[in-house]
């Protein structure tokens, strides 16, 4: 079945550590790619998106993600995390052939220790 996979469900890091969250998808056609973040008690917010062009996209709060088409991957990175990055992170794919819909990964809960 076509899906979106996030490799780790829980990640614990110390402040200033580097972060990389994996995301792979199984749709073969053209896709739009997203990372959403959900801070404790808040709603889902868009962190960054990729539609086309430069495969390295930069988002808010120092996050970036790299689209590697050959690997069907869209990994999220941040060089130095802060305690305030504690949140749940969702990768999402818009498989454009199905219209303006999002298919989400199961999420990764990041806890940053101060």
């Amino acid at each position: 079945a076509q899906s979106v996979s996030q490799h780790n469900h829980h990640v614990i890091l110390s402040e200033a550590a580097s972060l990389e969250l994996g995301c792979n998808y199984s749709y073969g056609g053209t896709v739009n790619l997203f990372w959403y973040v959900q801070y404790p008690g808040q709603h889902l917010q868009l962190l960054l998106k990729y539609f086309s062009g430069d495969p390295l996209v930069k988002g808010i709060k120092g996050f970036e993600a790299e689209f590697i088409k050959s690997k069907f991957s869209f990994n999220l990175r941040k060089p130095s995390v802060q305690w305030s990055d504690t949140a749940e992170y969702f990768c999402a794919v818009d498989p454009m052939e199905y219209g303006n819909k999002l298919v989400f990964g199961a999420g990764t809960i990041l806890r940053v220790k101060s």
């Binding site: 808040q42 709603h43 999002l102």
Partner: protein, 115 residues
């Protein structure tokens, strides 16, 4: 601020007792979505409205219905909630412009408990 509002934030219902969840938006978006998110799982699209056109996902149970009386409001009706329907229900909206990707904006969700 323009936003997506969901009421209530927490809803408790009894097994088999109909329940309605509410979503409203001040963004004037013409597309509204309902997602179901169970614990430790991905949000799963149940259905969406493009203006007044209802689009059901193939695997959404018949127990779930939706109404959109106007642009601003959309309701999720669960006719006979089962224990397996306990979840967070997320409403989202997008502008729905033809030929463009339209970002989805999410509400805070309603957490449904079924006793």
């Amino acid at each position: 601020d323009a936003m997506v509002i969901q009421n209530p934030r927490y809803q408790v219902t009894q097994f088999g007792k109909p329940v309605t969840l509410s979503c409203s938006q001040t963004l004037n978006h013409n597309v509204m979505y309902w997602y179901q998110q169970k614990s430790s799982q991905a949000p799963k699209l149940l259905f969406h409205y493009y203006d007044k056109d209802f689009n059901n996902e193939a695997d959404t149970p018949d127990n779930f219905q939706s109404r959109r009386p106007n642009t601003s409001f959309c309701f999720l009706d669960i006719r006979s909630p089962g224990l397996g329907d306990a979840a967070m229900y997320l409403c989202a909206t997008s502008a729905g412009r033809e030929g463009f990707y339209n970002e989805q904006f999410f509400g805070p969700g309603t957490r449904l408990t079924v006793l």
